[in-house]
């Protein structure tokens, strides 16, 4: 554990339970294609970011190691971008989504810490996304996530999400879901 991590304060058991429940609910909304409700969980200032992972030598790392804020990304979205993606899924002419892609999202290794302000929470987790399409296509993506949640009454909003896949080459044709 580095010195930065020692400064992190774990939240109470009750708050941890609430956050886990919220994130599980978020994933169920995706699996049930309830995109409008899912979008409503995003803060107006959301930065939803999944940088491209670059396979580089240790002596040639980027500003963030295997990724860089100024490089290409799978997602580098604000609320408008996310709403456009949702709009695309919702079009009857999204031919490739009929028959629908069947999704199972799951989350594990959840760690919840207090954020920089009282209303913020920092959440580390590991995600797994399994998609099946058509008769026999199956795609699995694993990765780590770092979320910044803000308290919103009895629930939360997602203000920042960083999604890190280990793969430098995506082993399938697309990511037609959220992670």
């Amino acid at each position: 554990m580095n010195s930065k991590e020692q400064q992190l304060t774990p939240v109470s058991m009750e708050m941890h339970y609430k956050v886990s429940g919220f994130l599980n609910m978020e994933y169920r909304l995706l699996d049930e294609e309830r995109f409008t409700e899912w979008l409503a969980l995003m803060d107006e200032d959301i930065h939803y970011w999944m940088p491209g992972i670059e396979n580089r030598r240790r002596e040639n790392l980027l500003s963030e190691g295997f990724y860089d804020a100024n490089h290409m990304a799978f997602f580098d979205d604000g609320k408008l971008d996310l709403s456009r993606r949702v709009a695309r899924f919702s079009q009857p002419s999204a031919w490739a989504e009929n028959p629908a892609t069947r999704n199972v999202h799951s989350l594990s290794n959840v760690e919840v810490f207090e954020g920089e302000s009282e209303s913020e929470l920092l959440v580390y987790s590991v995600f797994q996304s399994v998609r099946s399409r058509g008769q026999d296509e199956e795609y699995v993506i694993f990765g780590r996530r770092r979320d910044l949640l803000v308290k919103n009454g009895d629930s939360f909003k997602i203000r920042k999400r960083l999604i890190l896949m280990p793969n430098a080459t995506l082993s399938c044709k697309n990511i037609n879901t959220f992670l």
């Binding site: 490089h71 290409m72 971008d81 079009q91 002419s93 044709k173």
Partner: protein, 449 residues
């Protein structure tokens, strides 16, 4: 001894390859998307012979800067030399063949093989080995065992190409008048272009030609395939291409560019008015630089493939290679290109916009993948693979009287470029040497001044 890797001796052409497609009748066959024997011939007669895109100048600025990529399925290192030039080296140690560079890009003083410690400098010369004394005992001549270079490397406006074949025509001759059209994206401002950092790689279960052909001349699919994406990004359908008063399909040596003259039809789908505004702002200076005609192409509804597997969209500014990985698999490498002289804000907007539309998460590209994979997979059926596939649109649309360079066809809703692409492919597979490849160009090789 030359340090150039020897190219392949051409094997005999596949029996019956001349009739697998009948381009003049507007017919191709699904067999060309799934057949292992045809694929083996492609690696030899297309990828080991043609000029292939390997990178952009801006990716390797300083001595020792490198990127790794593939030419066909051959792994190569593209590295900037002290002289300012570029070498393309086989990424395989000449001792046991182990890969010497495992990273996709970086900066280095050389490469050391993990297996027996053979080390090579930026020029590819062998400079030492673990236990070097034993090599001296065997009268080993170090000068003969550097990393092998490809036969030729050349560039056009920052785009670096390489070929394994010393007999191939010059890059200038290979590209021909297509360069006049390439300038609309790659040289529309002083200083030219640069690639945004990074390279997104993904995997499709499709034949490489299906994807390349989509960019060589298939705008027809856009209005239908991409309807959902257009509605999401624009709030309405994409421009109706048949409404354009003037549009063209131009090809040369199998390369093809289809385009309208609407200036911003492509950029508009990024849904960022600042980018439309940028193109409108630079348009007068483009007109001064390239003339009025090409100033209308800077972000118009258009697409281009340089044969065999390098494609781009002006306006979306996505640049890609469809890397062959077997008859029914590709790795897609994508980059984003921007004008060097543009502001950082404009460059960032393009980086995001291109990814939002044309990338594995791009709302447009998602629909392409499905189509291309199943165009390929249906050909798994032996009987289905023999079915004729129609490719006859615009059969009589050749324009004799035009000042435009290249083989010019009227209208971009036209399969002329696709036919020329498959014709070139079939010509190469039927030819044991470059001298045997027929010249099917009938348009102007140069622009009339």
């Amino acid at each position: 001894m030359s340090n150039i890797i020897k190219t392949l001796d051409a094997t005999d052409c596949l029996e019956g390859i001349e009739s697998v497609c009948d381009i003049e009748s507007g017919r191709i066959s699904g067999k060309i998307f799934y057949d292992q024997k045809i694929y083996e011939q492609e690696l030899e007669k297309v990828f080991a012979r043609c000029w292939l895109f390997v990178g952009h100048d801006s990716q390797i600025k300083k001595t020792g800067d490198y990127i790794t990529t593939t030419m066909g399925e051959d792994e190569v290192i593209v590295i900037r030399q002290k002289s300012g030039g570029v070498k393309v080296l086989l990424n395989a140690c000449p001792h046991r063949g182990n890969k010497v560079c495992f990273s996709e890009s970086g900066s280095t003083r050389g490469f050391i093989c993990n297996y027996h410690g053979w080390s090579f400098n930026v020029e590819g010369n062998l400079t030492g080995q673990h236990e070097s004394g034993i090599y001296e005992d065997s009268n080993f001549d170090k000068s003969k065992w550097g990393l092998k270079e490809v036969a030729k490397v050349a560039s056009y406006k920052g785009l670096i190409f390489a070929t394994f074949d010393p007999e191939s025509p010059s890059l200038e001759e290979y590209l021909g008048p297509m360069t006049w059209y390439l300038d609309a994206l790659f040289d529309n401002q002083e200083g030219g272009t640069e690639f945004v950092g990074g390279c997104i790689r993904s995997t499709y279960e499709c034949n490489w030609k299906i994807a390349a052909e989509n960019f060589v001349g298939d705008i027809l699919h856009a209005g239908w395939t991409h309807d959902s994406a257009a509605r999401a990004m624009l709030g309405g359908a994409v421009s109706k291409v048949s409404d354009f008063e003037e549009s063209y399909s131009v090809n040369w040596n199998g390369h093809g560019y289809e385009f309208a003259l609407d200036t911003v039809g492509n950029v508009a789908v990024l849904g960022d008015s600042q980018l439309n505004k940028y193109l409108h702002t630079i348009k007068p200076s483009v007109a001064e630089r390239l003339g009025d005609f090409r100033s209308n192409m800077i972000g118009s509804v258009s697409s281009c493939t340089i044969f065999p597997n390098f494609s781009f969209l002006a306006g979306q500014n996505t640049v890609r290679i469809w890397q062959p990985r077997g008859p029914n698999k590709i790795e897609l490498f994508t980059w984003v290109v921007v004008n060097k002289s543009a502001s950082q804000d404009i460059k960032d907007r393009w980086r995001k916009g291109a990814m939002m539309t044309f990338s594995p998460t791009g709302v447009f590209e998602m629909d392409d993948g499905e189509n291309w994979e199943y165009c390929t997979k249906t050909a798994k059926g032996k009987v289905t693979a023999k079915q004729d596939l129609y490719i006859g649109l615009g059969m009589d649309s050749y324009l004799e009287d035009t000042d435009l360079p290249g083989n010019v066809y009227k209208g971009q809703l036209n399969e002329a470029n696709s036919r020329a692409y498959y014709q070139r492919w079939q010509d190469l597979l039927q030819s044991k040497s470059w001298a045997d490849v027929p010249n099917r160009n009938k348009g102007k090789a140069e622009v009339e001044k």
